[in-house]
Symmetry: C2
Subunit: 155 residues, 2 copies
């Protein structure tokens, strides 16, 4: 029964591959871990440091600004958000769907903004992040866009 | 050589599946076509009508608003954008990556806003859409988020 022997060999290969994938952790667990480190980095005052969690070819898409291309520029953009008084960032994932080495995440954020000489404002909103898995560095933010739930000021 | 015959059968099946996929058109071409119909619908004054391009379980994530869940509510949200004076919508795709029955799109938009008793304003910004392919209806918007490139008004 040669095709039975072949099937057994194929199954062994599939199980080996599955075991290798499992060793990497699930996309959900790995991305949760990056998000936890992202928040901890920002909230300890190292806003520029969150740039390290983006891929070198990432695009950051902040409201009221042109898109920001590349990890170095993204670190600078986050540094500016920190200087503007952003603190106490919370990210919460409501959907994560992985497709091989990419994944999309939908979630909500909240943030306090305490400018140097003004009252603190609480902001909250929603985001989509496209994640990409680098063979060495693991899951990295590849595309990142958000907006606020707070109504626009009326004029 | 039973496993050779089996391999031929498997290859025939793979080729048949590939041919079936090709008959559907490429994700890029199909999504371009939906985007063209989306713009045409909105720009002929049928803002509510763009709801038909979303999946029944879609989430719309507009700036300055809570997320909007479901096709019917999304049609109503677009109707409100139309009433607020939105016109001349242009969508432009800068990246489209398909993963089986899902795809992510990054792009830019521009829009004129002409409220009933005020001067027209030109808005432009960026978006991410997660697309999902329905077995019958084809590609539909599943998650849709955007924000403006225009700086926030200073107070």
């Amino acid at each position: 029964m040669p095709h039975v022997r072949k099937s057994v060999a194929v199954c062994a290969l599939v199980l080996f591959a599955a075991a290798s994938l499992a060793a990497q952790g699930s996309p959900r667990a790995d991305i949760n871990s990056v998000n936890a480190r992202f928040m901890a980095t920002f909230n300890r005052g190292d806003a520029a440091g969150v740039g390290q969690f983006y891929s070198t070819d990432a695009v950051l898409m902040p409201p009221n600004s042109a898109a920001v291309h590349g990890r170095a520029n993204i670190g600078n953009a986050w540094a500016a958000f920190g200087k503007a008084g952003g603190t106490n960032l919370k990210l919460s994932t409501t959907e994560l769907v992985a497709h091989g080495d990419m994944a999309h995440e939908m979630g909500t954020y909240s943030l306090d903004i305490k400018p140097p000489k003004a009252a603190a404002v609480h902001d909250h909103g929603k985001f989509i992040v496209i994640w990409k898995r680098d063979p060495k560095a693991g899951w990295q933010l590849y595309r990142d866009i958000w907006n606020t739930d707070v109504p626009a000021p009326t004029h």
